[in-house]
Subunit: 444 residues, 2 copies
């Protein structure tokens, strides 16, 4: 018997039974809730089954807007970048910055490295020197042990690049690591890496049992890839003479814009409180493309922010220079993503995103994503040092409030005209709309 | 005239025109693509309009599985936690850890702080001492200037808590900041904070113009909230005697489990390469609830990972202790989220998530999210130090491969029985399935 609110065997229930249980136990039997959930199912039953299969205990699909930021000129090639984000202004900002820079030579990108990493952590009681002595032999065994697993990846040009032995130091008594580096070609590579590492762990244990049993005890703690791919890095850059920063109708002189922009980025390089928000803006762009292409944004976020803290202080991932009147803005960040495997071909819109981007390989996608992050960052900082962030943001947010209050086109036009946009709030909009509606109906 | 691949006025096009342009320019006129996009629209036109309004240049909705992790016992109350994630195993792992701990006293959580922050950065040429001297008067003006903006928030018990003046130091010549702290109650508070800050900036400029014009030049660089909310922090904890860690059918002794578990967490506390992956796992849980409740995962990620690096080295956000045979596992992290405003009531499934969670206030939601992150982390580390990560993961991933290859239930049963699960790959599954299908059809 279950206590109210808890359940045995939930995962074994059918989707309808799961929904019924949640509605009964947590939604006071509200039957409208099941309608809302089923309203978000895909009309194609087979496709819905695919979505359900991505995760567990699925009741429905959470919809996130799928949009397009056109006019990205990256290394002289045009792209329309698919973006998935729930945050207003993000796609508009990326589009606007992409267009701006497409008139100033576009965005230049390059991949600085594609190395993935993995670790087998283990304890060994027999001392560092014994292990070091045996390591050449162990290494040979390790590489031999994964030949079968590696063969497909090697055909594609990838595989295990190296395995080294690390001692984690005095603080972690007797803990050692095998640290391996991989090239996983166009796949993100998590499954390949983890399978290799688990095989390494098994080979290592066997070796110790066969050859080192009388010298110490070896126990594997865990085998898993590292998401900190600090040598899988991409750079995106825009640059132009300060004179060309000029924009029609801008309220700010181009020299002043360049200087304020640089100052804003410098502040994010020195002040962690600012840096977090600055980088958050970069990831608004990055994650939207990562999501749209079926990649894993938690991996990208964790790695990117750890990279931002690599000097011992959390800093901006982008930097700005002005040399001899040339303005340059550069973003450098690690990006471990894939264009094959995972959800990239399973999720219909992830697949479509890759098609829209011209079926890029992983290196190309890294560059597209970095370019989008740079554009996003440029738009945000430019807006911050000129009009401020609220003007554009509230304009977007207003449309959500209008929709929520069920305003029709005529009412929206009235509200847009009569609202004091400097002090917008949900209640202010509601008041104005209520007043307008009362007046309209009394005029009928 | 547009160059192929680029466009003027894309945002002004209707949704159908936008799709037509993308299909024409980037998908070789493939008309199936527009069908796939429209297949993901919501059947309710009004609701679809709402989704379209969240972002810009929207063509469709990106579906992410919306699932439930039941059996969370948090501070003696049961929860079924809605999670949105595209990654397999995440919901299963959270559910399993929640159930495990519900039998060992549940998860204990507490909020350690709810302070939000914002910054106005500016340059001032007249030296620190003049500014410091005037600051008491400036501060009074700043607070006076936002009275109207603040009044609603004050009624709810929040508002501006303090404003201080900071000099950013020698490296950033002449740069100062107003750093303000806020209590934004149950809203995430970005709009409120940014509106206050822009008003601060305007008051500050006016003050300088009126009273300091002969002593120096003051120019505002930017006004914006800080996502680094290192005093908006929540803690989640599980604890039990080591004896009770015992699980039926586990291949590992409970003492050994406790020790290996602690060692694994200790490694993540010392080694950044491991810490990034360890924390990534925590955010698998965190982000899934953040998304499901209409909050902003980029803000939560940026803040959480910067917090993980606050000692000068990137470390684990969770820690494990064993004292007198008592096992304790604790997660501490900053979480700036909201349960009112933003998308929380606009997105139908975000609203539903909050209903399922019993309409929590922001502090309660912080605790639920942290509990989910802890459960996720516990499940991942437990799996790593026992069976390894691949066994469970490949089982889940296999289902996706089956679905992609269009296997029916009978075929799935055959594959499950005959696959060598230690070496699963897409091609291995396809080969086995092809062979089975050939044989079946020749038997007809």
């Amino acid at each position: 018997m279950s206590i109210k609110g808890s359940i045995q065997g939930f995962s074994k229930l059918s989707k309808k039974e799961k929904i019924a249980w949640v509605v009964d136990q947590y939604l006071n039997g509200d039957t409208q809730a099941s309608e809302v959930l089923s309203q978000h199912w895909n009309v194609d039953e087979k496709m819905q089954q695919t979505f359900d299969g991505f995760s567990e205990n699925t009741l429905s699909n959470y919809h996130l807007p799928y949009g397009i930021a056109p006019n990205f000129l990256i290394n002289n090639q045009w792209y329309a970048v698919p973006m998935v984000t729930e945050e207003s202004s993000v796609v508009a900002a990326a589009s606007s910055a992409a267009k701006y820079w497409s008139k100033r030579g576009g965005i230049q990108t390059k991949v600085l490295g594609v190395e993935k990493k993995g670790q087998v952590s283990f304890t060994w009681s027999g001392g560092h020197s014994t292990l070091k002595e045996h390591f050449p032999q162990i290494r040979t065994e390790l590489l031999k042990g994964i030949q079968l697993i590696e063969s497909n990846m090697q055909k594609r040009g990838g595989g295990v690049k190296d395995v080294v032995l690390l001692y984690l130091g005095e603080q972690l008594h007797d803990v050692y690591q095998l640290k391996a580096t991989f090239d996983t070609c166009d796949s993100m590579g998590a499954n390949f890496i983890n399978t290799c590492l688990e095989q390494f762990a098994s080979t290592l244990s066997n070796y110790a049992q066969a050859n080192l049993a009388d010298q110490g005890r070896l126990e594997v703690i865990m085998s898993i890839l590292s998401n900190y791919t600090d040598n899988c890095v991409v750079e995106a850059r825009v640059s132009c003479p300060i004179d060309e920063l000029k924009v029609n109708n801008d309220r700010i002189n181009h020299k002043n814009l360049a200087n304020k922009f640089k100052k804003a980025v410098d502040i994010a390089c020195h002040d962690s409180y600012r840096a977090v928000t600055h980088n958050k803006g970069i990831f608004n762009g990055i994650d939207a493309v990562v999501l749209a292409t079926g990649n894993d944004f938690r991996a990208v976020e964790a790695c990117g922010h750890a990279y931002a803290s690599r000097t011992g202080k959390y800093r901006s991932l982008s930097e700005c220079t002005i040399h001899e009147d040339q303005f340059t803005f550069t973003l450098t960040l690690p990006l471990a993503i894939g264009t094959v495997g995972g959800l990239t071909s399973l999720h219909p819109l992830a697949k479509m995103s890759l098609n829209i981007l011209g079926k890029p390989n992983a290196k190309e996608l890294m560059q597209i994503i970095a370019a989008t992050g740079l554009a996003q960052n440029f738009a945000a900082v430019k807006s911050l040092v000129t009009t401020g962030i609220q003007q554009g943001h509230m304009k977007m947010h207003l449309q959500n409030i209008f929709n929520q209050l069920g305003a029709d086109d005529e009412e929206k036009a009235y509200l847009n005209e009569h609202l004091d946009t400097s002090k917008v709030s949900h209640s202010a909009v509601r008041q104005l709309l209520d007043a307008y509606r009362t007046e309209s109906s009394s005029n009928v």
